[in-house]
């Protein structure tokens, strides 16, 4: 299905920040597309615009110029509330700092994005997702009772609860040791096939590259490959 248009697509995206007198161009005329079942890695030096690009793809930030499409929908001019709906139903996030809520258990953290939805089976789905990332025996543990790698697995399960089309991960291994990082990456690659989602992962670590189907390199806000 949508393989011609891409599940997400940036066209001519530029993002400028005004910092006092100086204008920073975080993204310069970026074209990008990701398909279901594909893992794309975005690499580049610090400050090259990787996070900015991921935020634009994730509908957390809007471009200064250019268009953003989800499937066939042009979401560039969406209101904040419309963007929220898109994020809820289409996008899953995995952050470098895990960003789990400390007062919730693992399974509750996984449920969180669907907590305000009147779905009956979200608990079952959350438990199922935690089993799949190997945390079937840690369902009722709070984040402070979990290791870094386990927390990031909870975050991955959380990203999947609303059955997204795209999973975005900004330096998901940045706070983990190399070995744990590798298990997380394996988990993410498994997603792209098992869940048929597009995975876009940012890293400044060359290590990630070997797991990618495709690598996009950013330098000073421009795509070089």
């Amino acid at each position: 299905m949508g393989s011609q248009v891409g599940v997400v697509r940036l066209a001519g995206v530029t993002k400028r920040y005004q910092n006092g007198d100086e204008t920073i161009e975080a993204l310069a005329d970026v074209d990008f597309r990701a398909e279901r079942g594909e893992m794309v890695t975005v690499i580049g030096p610090s400050g090259s615009g990787k996070s900015t690009m991921l935020n634009v793809i994730g509908l957390l930030d809007t471009p200064t110029t250019g268009t953003v499409r989800i499937q066939t929908r042009d979401v560039t001019a969406f209101t904040e509330d419309e963007l929220t709906e898109e994020r809820r139903s289409v996008i899953g996030f995995v952050f470098q700092e895990f960003h789990l809520l400390p007062m919730l258990t693992a399974v509750e953290n996984v449920e969180l994005p669907s907590m305000w939805e009147p779905t009956v089976d979200r608990r079952d789905r959350a438990v199922d997702l935690l089993r799949r990332v190997g945390l079937g025996d840690r369902l009722d543990h709070t984040p402070d009772e979990l290791s870094g790698g386990q927390r990031q697995r909870v975050a991955i399960a959380r990203a999947l609860i609303n059955e997204p089309d795209i999973v975005l991960a900004d330096e998901p291994t940045g706070n983990l040791d190399r070995e744990t990082g590798e298990t997380i990456l394996e988990e993410l690659t498994a997603l792209q096939t098992n869940e048929n989602v597009a995975v876009v992962a940012v890293t400044h670590d060359e290590q990630l590259v070997e797991y990618a189907d495709r690598v996009v390199e950013l330098v000073d806000g421009r795509v070089t490959t």
């Binding site: 904040e80 929220t84 709906e85 809820r88 960003h99 809520l101 007062m103 994005p113 907590m115």
Partner: protein, 380 residues
């Protein structure tokens, strides 16, 4: 239980409850502020209610009388016969008792003497209750004397007393135990015993306080202009109204003080909610990033504020009732009166104020958190 279950269906409520559980000390302190506010507003209000109740029961027996005397602009020295007639035309269904006053010294053969006020009145029965002898409706020849004065002087029913060169036989003894008003060292004679001419005052005895007030208003309207007071009309009901209005003012002042403490408590809640949302900025950014709507974040934080208000309100109301029991016991001698509406409404009001003030204090922090752009919030 089922209410709680129902509440639990609301994710905002559930999240709010957990969030409050995270920093118990802060939650406790914020709640304490509200508790103090509620206790202040409720116990001060209840103190006013207790004073009111006590004043009511003290004034109660006198409030059905209206007293009329010559007004400041009156040409005559008292209330004239024709004015009494006019009063009789205006006032129906009440006893109208014109009276003259004087004082004299009663002495016995043994040489003891007492100073007494002399009241000349025809319809004595309307004003006086006697412990012995008659209370004649029309006093023509005899005299009434306060029973304690009679006892002091060794006088009994049938004994003569002298006033203005005339002798009067004691036909009744007046009970002199009442706190206010007539009674005590008083000699009551037929109206004719005192010089004729104007009456010193007219007492009107009505059914109850309300009628007395109506009569007083009626007389005032009938006889007096704003700049020409022919009759001075005083009802004890209006004395009660004066006490009431004083107590109302006092009550307002007390409530004002109480409200200030609740306002202070609301500011404390505002501060706590603002601090906690700023601290949780990243977390709220995550909620927004994963697709939680702005309205849902708003409700969650409002629910936190409402919980603080509810907790503080419940604890405060309980403590207030306790305080009220003590206050009513001390001031009105009836601690259960605290559960009467005039008093318990301050507890209800304090509780309501606490919840409303807390939710209002939560509005700004909630609005601010809900509208924080998630990218900014996540960047920290």
């Amino acid at each position: 239980m089922s209410v709680l279950d129902l509440l639990w269906r609301f994710p905002s409520v559930q999240m709010a409850w957990r969030n409050l559980g995270r920093n118990r000390i802060r939650t406790g302190l914020a709640t304490l502020g509200i508790v103090i506010g509620v206790v202040a507003i409720a116990s001060l209000g209840m103190t006013g209610a207790a004073l009111q109740q006590q004043a009511d029961s003290n004034l109660g027996s006198l409030t059905n009388e209206v007293s009329v005397s010559a007004g400041a602009d009156s040409a005559t020295d008292g209330v004239t016969e024709s004015q009494v007639d006019d009063i009789e035309n205006v006032v129906v269904a009440a006893a109208i008792v014109p009276q003259r006053s004087d004082s004299t010294t009663l002495s016995t053969r043994r040489g003891e003497s007492r100073r007494v006020t002399v009241t000349g009145v025809t319809n004595a029965g309307a004003l006086y209750e006697t412990s012995a002898g008659d209370t004649p409706d029309r006093l023509r020849t005899g005299a009434l004397l306060s029973d304690d004065t009679a006892a002091d002087l060794g006088l009994e029913l049938g004994d003569p007393v002298e006033y203005d060169g005339q002798l009067y036989r004691i036909v009744g003894l007046i009970e002199s135990d009442s706190g206010f008003g007539p009674g005590g060292n008083e000699l009551v004679l037929p109206s004719s015993a005192l010089s004729d001419g104007a009456y010193d005052s007219v007492t009107i005895v009505a059914e109850d306080g309300q009628t007395a007030t109506a009569i007083a208003d009626r007389l005032d309207a009938e006889f007096n202009e704003p700049d020409d007071e022919a009759l001075s009309v005083t009802s004890f009901a209006s004395a009660q109204a004066n006490v009431d209005s004083f107590l109302n003012t006092l009550n307002l002042a007390l409530l004002g003080i109480g409200s200030i403490s609740l306002v202070v408590a609301s500011v404390a809640i505002l501060n706590v909610m603002l601090m906690s949302t700023i601290e949780r900025r990243g977390e709220i950014g995550v909620l927004r990033a994963v697709g939680i709507r702005r309205g849902e974040v708003l409700r969650m934080i409002l629910a936190e504020a409402a919980f603080l208000g509810l907790l503080g309100g419940i604890v405060g109301a309980a403590l207030s009732v306790g305080t009220g029991l003590v206050v009513f016991q001390l001031l009105a001698g009836d601690r259960l009166a605290v559960f009467g509406w005039p008093s318990i409404r301050y507890v209800v009001g304090g509780f309501g104020f606490a919840v409303v003030a807390s939710v209002l204090s939560g509005l700004y922090p909630a609005w601010k958190a809900a509208n924080d752009p998630p990218v900014e919030a996540l960047r920290g």
